[in-house]
Symmetry: C2
Subunit: 315 residues, 2 copies
């Protein structure tokens, strides 16, 4: 359990996203029901860097031990509403190489009527992370924190295909867009990654991060480009949430350092370090099912892997 | 044209591999017949670093201008035999994203009876690169240079599937094996890259480099691991030969520096730099059809892109 007082001095970060129960089957095993959801993975990862405030909704079936786990990570849960009904449930099965997955069930439950409302004291938080939810809801949250210093968001193919205009309107209000390579290509209409990123920057965000799963990530910010290779795990148990953990580590590091991505004085290598911390959190996520790796993970282990990335890429 | 005298002081490198005419169709265009072949791409790339001696065979139809291009790169052609008949011809078509290709025609022609015989003065060369040819022929060459300091080789799925035992016997005599990720998995029987590399190291080579195309490359050498992300090209015209150019740049750099990969005193970051030079040469290769980019490419441009890789990956 992190010392809650540790974050008194650091900037805090609001995370909006799903809190869910997941059923996952990978070649390494199967879990019927465990804590998951983008909001959960982002918050838990970011909690290693800064004070996190989670905005989401769960049902009456949400287990006390799962709430205790989040609170134990020092996450502020005032923004986590409990609504009548059941918690969002989602299940999937992965391919043999775990590079593809098939959704088996999606039961939105209480998430279907989720209207994110930020507690008053969250509205002055300088760092906001918008997990993958309906773009209209992302805009609703964005409007509640007009003075935020960093708004970082994620999306998915579904919104690109069904809500493109609303999504583009949402993204136009963000500082950082984090997507995977397929999404970057789909949203930009460009096959080439460099050109896709340029097109996405033109849509608004000054920072575009393209996540490439086991192949690493690339950050684009104007004429600055940073590429991180993937961390080479010996065993992948469950890749679910790795992209969300990347986002949590990325934004968490920027918040911890109190960085302002809009400042012309920003040391752009700080953005690169944020990408590496994102990669580190994503890699740990895959080492166990669901959030299990975070039950024991320490900040010291995170920093050690950050240094391992340095050794892995220095020449 | 490089100054031939420049290499008087540097170690020389023997390349064995196919010299061919290629027909290539990519989404950027189509060329019916142009200079190609693994031996060509490796030699031309390595020629930016060291004195290269090319061992191969061409037919009577081999054009004087193609011979002049190779000679113009300072490549020693005493080992390039001319045999009665036609030069090896191969043609292919690439998928829209250029990550897959389909072979259309393979006409071995004079290559069918290729029996590599090294000119006497090549046999004391300290650096040997074995392009992708029949493993028995790779062994034949290896036996002709018993005192070589570095033997680096490549292979392909075809030999893994049809000549596995012979291939393993060949690899056992190498210092460095360079393969793509699919080949690494197929040859090792391991899905996980880190474990696949360990299995391949157990087969003999102290250095295993896994090439991942646009996603970069990873080098394994005992407990040392180095990962390079892919260089982000704005336009890919033709990926043919990029893996061979990687091999040429990798081995060429080691030869230029006079490095001994078997020495316990070896600075392992030199291996990392060799991987980056390999990536640089591979990236240039894709910028035009066939070897066309190398008609104008200078060493200064290569070194500039090496530095760009540094900026791209530093954090």
């Amino acid at each position: 359990m992190p010392a809650a007082g540790r974050y008194n001095q650091v900037m805090s970060l609001v995370v909006v996203g799903s809190v869910a129960y997941d059923g996952v089957e990978t070649p390494r095993g199967r879990v019927e029901r465990m804590l998951g959801g983008a909001g959960t993975f982002i918050s838990v990862s970011a909690s290693y860097f800064t004070q996190v405030c989670l905005v989401g909704v769960v049902g009456e079936d949400f287990a006390e031990e799962d709430r205790a786990f989040l609170a134990g990570r020092g996450i502020d849960l005032e923004g986590l509403q409990t609504a009548p009904g059941k918690t969002f449930y989602w299940s999937c099965i992965y391919s043999e190489d775990m590079n593809e997955r098939t959704t088996l069930r999606t039961e939105l439950n209480v998430f279907a009527n989720f209207r994110p409302e930020l507690p008053a004291r969250y509205r002055s938080c300088p760092y906001i992370v918008l997990g993958n939810i309906q773009p209209a809801l992302q805009r609703r949250v964005r409007a509640q924190v007009p003075q935020a210093r960093l708004v970082a968001g994620d999306t998915m193919n579904y919104w690109i295909e069904t809500g493109r205009d609303e999504l583009l309107a949402a993204i136009a209000e963000w500082d950082a867009l984090l997507v995977n390579d397929g999404e970057a290509r789909l949203l930009s209409g460009e096959r080439n990654l460099r050109r896709a990123a340029r097109r996405l920057e033109e849509a608004g965000p000054r920072i575009v991060v393209v996540k490439r799963g086991e192949f690493g990530a690339v950050l684009f910010a104007g004429d600055y480009v940073f590429a991180a290779p993937g961390y080479l795990l010996e065993e992948v148990w469950d890749p679910t949430g790795a992209g969300d953990c990347f986002l949590g580590g990325f934004a968490g590091y920027l918040a911890e350092r109190g960085l302002d991505p809009r400042s012309p004085e920003l040391d752009r290598k700080e953005l690169a370090r944020a990408v590496v911390y994102g990669s580190v959190l994503g890699s740990f996520c895959c080492e166990r099912f669901g959030v299990d790796r975070f039950r024991t993970l320490t900040r010291a282990e995170i920093d050690e892997r950050f240094l391992e990335f340095k050794r892995l890429t220095e020449f």
